[in-house]
């Protein structure tokens, strides 16, 4: 057994998992506050990558300006979607809102193809590309610099979100709204503002994940299929749990990398969806999802 190789594969898997986790956070924040299942998460992520491409390549902005600009656009995008598509559906059946997000996904693919054409492109390199070597008992392990920096950025963002949910008063308001919307109104919480905030934060996370993912593997209008894996991650982790998104993201990234390397690429999906089935059988609300408190 080549331990060094295994270590390198595991690190690469965890790095990819960090990106899963970040996109999953974008999903969970929205679901937690508004109970909307956002099927457009993959396409929002793709839009984020293209908006960054637009700033960096189209307008020729340096990365330190283009990245924040893309995130700001992400926030605006989330706010506009909430105001024009989600808020008018308040109180309608969840399946109708679900279908709106499915439609939004198709709309975004069309929009991106109209503006930038469907061809795959490369993002201008902005992450440092000096190779990183980690000392291990078996020798020096090579870590792809892009993956390393991207997953580090993802972890920082996720930690920020988790701290905000736990300790910031607005985070408490968001969780309160998630638990009981009617009661949230009566304690003075501005519920529509909470919804807008959740969509803004969720879209910023998805845009961020899109930029990082694009930096590693290039961008194309079909990169939204990444959203499918993100859905697996949030279901495994628990739809309303940030910690679940993080743990499940890393776990699935790791499993995919191991399966891809040792079993062959065609086993990647088999392993992920196998895990999904097992988790649903044992813990239907996900690894860290909230179980409804029932008092009889």
């Amino acid at each position: 057994m080549d331990w060094l190789f295994l270590f390198e594969v595991a690190i690469a898997g965890l790095g990819a998992g960090g990106l899963y986790a970040l996109a999953a956070v974008g999903f969970v924040v929205v679901y937690k506050a508004t109970r909307v299942v956002n099927m457009a998460i993959g396409e929002i992520l793709m839009l984020g990558a293209f908006v960054f491409f637009g700033f960096a390549s189209g307008l020729g902005w340096p990365p330190w300006a283009a990245v924040p600009a893309a995130l700001v656009v992400g926030g605006l995008f989330g706010g506009v979607v909430e105001r024009t598509m989600i808020r008018p559906m308040l109180g309608e059946s969840p399946i109708a809102v679900f279908m709106i997000t499915v439609g939004l996904g198709s709309l975004l693919v069309g929009l991106v193809e109209l503006v930038w054409s469907p061809e795959p492109r490369r993002l201008p390199a902005f992450l440092p590309d000096a190779p990183i070597f980690l000392p291990t008992p078996w020798g020096e392990a090579y870590v792809s610099p892009k993956t390393a920096y991207a997953s580090a950025a993802a972890l920082v963002l996720i930690t920020g979100f988790m701290l905000a949910f736990r300790y910031w008063r607005g985070g408490v308001a968001l969780r309160a709204t998630a638990t009981d919307r009617g009661a949230a109104y009566t304690v003075g919480i501005n519920v529509p503002l909470v919804f807008a905030t959740a969509w803004i934060a969720g879209s910023v996370a998805a845009f961020g994940a899109g930029v990082l993912l694009g930096a590693i593997g290039g961008i194309s209008s079909t990169m939204g299929v990444f959203g499918l894996s993100v859905l697996v991650v949030v279901i495994v982790g628990g739809l309303d749990s940030l910690l679940g998104a993080l743990v499940a993201g890393l776990l699935i990234g790791l499993l995919e990398a191991l399966a891809g390397t040792f079993l062959g690429g065609e086993y990647k999906l088999l392993v992920t969806f196998g895990l999904l089935v097992v988790v649903l059988l044992i813990r239907p609300y996900g690894l860290f999802g909230t179980r409804e408190i029932e008092r009889l």
């Binding site: 109180g91 008063r169 408490v172 969780r175 304690v187 501005n190 909230t290 408190i293």
Partner: protein, 271 residues
């Protein structure tokens, strides 16, 4: 100047004038209801199921619109200001707090986080003192401050629901059936605390109750609703001597249920 203050002191904190409420544009629930709550007073709102008590409270706190209901006639004034067009969360910050029926604590949050969420009802800068006040009235909540609210007992949840209101030190508290589902001994404890809040904090209360005897024990004035309008009202001392009220709401009287049904039918026919 002194006269102006005196007038303000006696004016009603809440004045509901001849309102009608319609749900889904078709179902009329309130038909010309009027009531008023003087500053610092406890007013009870009684009536059978479906009479419109909860709807009245929701019209006042403006939660009605979230349930496809609307006030189609009449007006409601809180602290001498009309409330039409205000969002529910704005109204709370002006000092009108609605404690919903069935406690409705945030089950996934801890006791302390429930209170933190309620600080959104505070005018700025009063939150810190509010926590101490709540824990002083409900020492039990302090003991359980790190517990998840969903696992509290029914009585503790009701304390938390009232504590969330207390933290905002409102001018007027709407209480919808605080005795619901609690043991008689707990009902007494809760009502003692409610009475203390009214006495010590000067908070006016509009109290909806099925337990009329308990409501009469702390209220000074009461309204009795039937099918969306006030049928009897008056100071509690007078209502407690009233033959019909004693019989139908306090359960003291000699007539059999057959007569009661007959009476109710006749009443409805007449009104």
């Amino acid at each position: 100047m002194t006269i102006a203050t005196a007038t303000a002191g006696t004016a009603a904190v809440l004045a509901v004038n001849n309102i009608e409420v319609v749900y889904h544009d078709t179902i009329q629930v309130l038909r010309g209801l009027s009531l008023s709550v003087p500053r610092g007073a406890v007013v009870a709102l009684l009536g059978a199921n479906g009479a419109g008590k909860t709807t009245t409270l929701k019209a006042v706190s403006r939660l009605l619109e979230l349930e496809n209901g609307a006030v189609t006639a009449g007006d409601i004034r809180f602290a001498d200001q009309p409330i039409a067009g205000l969002a529910p969360h704005t109204l709370v910050r002006r000092g009108l707090f609605h404690v919903l029926e069935g406690r409705r604590v945030f089950e996934d949050l801890t006791v302390e986080e429930n209170l933190t969420a309620a600080t959104y009802a505070c005018r700025s800068g009063t939150a810190r003192a509010g926590f101490e006040l709540v824990y002083e009235y409900f020492p039990r909540l302090y003991e359980r401050r790190t517990s998840t609210a969903g696992y509290l007992s029914g009585g503790e949840q009701q304390m938390l629901a009232i504590g969330r209101a207390l933290i905002a030190s409102p001018q007027l508290m709407l209480l919808d059936e605080p005795s619901l589902g609690l043991s008689p001994i707990l009902v007494e404890t809760i009502f003692e605390i409610i009475a203390r809040i009214n006495r010590e904090q000067g908070t006016a209360l509009l109290l909806v109750e099925q337990n009329a005897a308990m409501a009469f024990a702390i209220a000074s004035y009461a309204y009795i609703l039937e099918t969306g309008k006030v049928v009897i009202d008056g100071p509690v001392e007078r209502l407690m001597r009233d033959e019909d009220v004693r019989e139908f709401y306090l359960g003291q009287g000699g007539r059999s249920y057959r007569d009661v049904k007959h009476y109710k039918r006749r009443k409805r026919w007449l009104s």
